[in-house]
Symmetry: D2
Subunit: 250 residues, 4 copies
């Protein structure tokens, strides 16, 4: 008798961390990639399928309840995912916040963008994912896991980054609350403080940490870390990690 | 020649902390009380005026940009406040979050209520108050001050309190960011972690800390603390305090 | 019938914070000043007495159990203190740690100096002071208080400051533990994170924060803060405060 | 040409975490086990050797500079370790603190025991290990690593645990300072907050978390975690992790 299939869903997939996480989890699970635009996941789906894996992308606006619920409904109707169990859900959405600027030059739209993509999107994603993760507890090969990508601003509100801090703090508070509620039910909820410039196409030209080798964080290192969190035994869950290049000041 | 008049504005005035803070600051300054309903500030305005102070209440929805801007515009047109400088702005709004409940029984409205009243309301309030506080730096008798009321949930996301934590974390992140930006410009920005059941009419029947005397936090103690923060010299600003009854577990 | 007399004891008195704290508390209480060398307290005792207060200095090595116990025994035999109650005990000892240097250039003596003056000295001081503070709970005009001076290094271990961090972290851990044990018994235990260069004779020539006015922390501001902590009502104890000049980066 | 050999050294080896860590690292490296008594490491050395690994135990008092220096000197003279490079150093010493008791019933010996085994022992161990770890940076297969075992008490000073907290806080402060100094030089320094009763022979009879399966932390899970930290790429170092059973309250 065939054993049950398990899959992973990653929200916030693009050219950086999301892609690396998707490729990493796709080595073991079929993966669902959520992004606002098909261009964000198209190539990655192709890359996974070409390598012999299974992947599907769903265009989703994580800040919309209807869109998130529709995405999760669609997963259940997709070949290879219908009837499968959810083993891991990664919330890697960041969203904008208007960029570094003096508080008095920010607008309420900057703040709303940060609140929408961070706590609100995570809320909607978790609301759909957690019931499925709970269902997977008895049979999942690894403890079902919800991982949330945070930043330095998750624990430190810096000057001129009010919009950034407000969203990251909120997301961390929500993640902690979920960990305390769902750990005892067998679902691992972890928060990662990414304290680095990530080495992705968009940052290729940036000189970081004086340009020393490995001065930017390799997104594959983040993916390895998320996979490691997912495979922790339930006798030892890590709720929060930090991750930064060896040369990063902190 | 008469010296310039300075006033304080308190958002989130009701039967508890807001009232005590208003009465405390009214001993020195004319005060503006903002609340969603006139019943929340009516008696307090009367109490202050009867005691020889000056107070005005303005019905305000702090989650609405228009309403907050209109409230601040109205202050400038009010007798006794027109031409005066803002010495202290207190953000004491809490808002609802749907109460303690399992995450999967919460609704997006619970989350939105918490985000609206906490980071979003603080954002709008700070956006109107900070330019006035900056203007007061040269002449204010005490460093112009923005004080934000937080809670235990500002640093700890507890199980079944996801909506509460999300708003309080966000508010703390925003406050920290503002402190780092505005302290060097002379405006004191402080965050108070209220780790207690406050002794107000609504909690009178609650048995807290086994009912021992002073087991609930006297709102007048909070008011004293806020006044103390306001009067700190700029050579020594406190950015964050905690406050709890002697018998409170922490 | 005369009411009971209460006094304060300050360990770590010299030209800076200790002096300011002593002068502040001496306005209300007779004070005992502990320092390793008589030169550290001689002038301050004189200054207090000249101003009409009561003060006594006792040469004490806070890192020696015998010396600390002897100091407290001597207090009980000193005119004006015999039979009096202890209202406040301030631990302001810092001690050396060998200064900023690479870890591999430090010696075990640097580490031991920091451990002796910080957690070990605080332990011995608290061991003698807490029984007296407990006795004062019923009659003291303010909740009996133990205040401990910390630093930025109490929560952050910086590079090249290993010896500094080790002592400050330890002192904070001990203070927290004491707060959780003694708050419910009515003794207020507070920790102050002093995040600043203090404006004392030794730092007069230092250019701090570009030399702007009030860029160093006035020790009298620290003393005011300690007095404020001491006078907090037991319905609202603050366990930890930070204190830094408005221009200080944090 | 044979490539250079690398080894690991583990201080604080006994029936629990130290044993699991030794067995884990022994799968890849020759290991040195330090413990105060030969009985603590004898069986483990045998177990490793029987499994085809290489291990040596050295009786060491980590609180004595002479003893620690002598142990590291002996490593250099031991067959299989002479000329080898140090890849990982684990400080897993805990030491006593007199157990849970009211502060006023503790003795200075309880405090000194905690300070000796925690910050002082770590200091001496790091002083000998870090120069060797630095030498290994260019050739070590994984970034040379110093890992320190902490506890819940590393960030929270609980009532009746003053001696425990004082040592754990101090050790964490020292570890942070070392991380900030040695990360940029290529040595990974990590601190693990073990928030659990560990499932070892000594705790076998304890009912923890209502006796549910996996309610105690499996020491092999800690060992896996330490190995994972050791194998992190330098573009993404984790400085601190927490680890607790899924049912552990936090």
């Amino acid at each position: 008798m065939a054993s049950k299939t398990f899959y992973a869903v990653i929200a916030g997939v693009g050219a950086g961390t999301g892609r690396s996480v998707a490729l990493k989890f796709a080595k073991t699970y079929p993966v669902v990639l959520l992004a606002r635009n098909p261009e964000s996941y198209g190539d990655i789906v192709e890359e996974i399928v070409d390598a012999g894996g299974r992947a599907v992308g769903i265009t989703t606006d994580v800040t919309s309840q209807e869109s998130v619920e529709s995405a999760f409904a669609q997963i259940q109707k997709t070949e290879g995912f219908a009837g499968a169990g959810l083993a891991a859900a990664i919330y890697n959405v960041s969203g904008g916040f208007g960029g570094r600027k003096p508080f008095l030059e920010t607008s309420i739209d900057d703040l709303d963008a940060s609140l929408s993509a961070n706590p609100r999107g995570l809320y909607l994603f978790a609301k759909s994912a957690l019931p499925l993760l709970l269902q997977s507890v008895p049979e999942s090969p690894n403890p079902p896991t919800l991982i949330v990508t945070g930043a330095t601003a998750s624990t430190r509100g810096s000057a001129f980054f009010s919009g950034f801090a407000v969203g990251k703090f909120a997301k961390r508070g929500l993640t902690q609350s979920l960990a305390r509620e769902f750990h005892p039910r067998g679902v691992h909820v972890a928060h990662a403080i990414i304290d680095a410039v990530i080495d992705i196409p968009r940052t290729r030209g940036f000189t970081v940490n004086n340009g020393v080798p490995d001065g930017k964080l390799d997104p594959n290192a983040i993916a390895d870390e998320y996979w490691h969190l997912h495979t922790q035994h339930r006798s030892g869950f890590t709720q929060e990690i930090d991750l930064r290049p060896y040369v990063e000041k902190f």
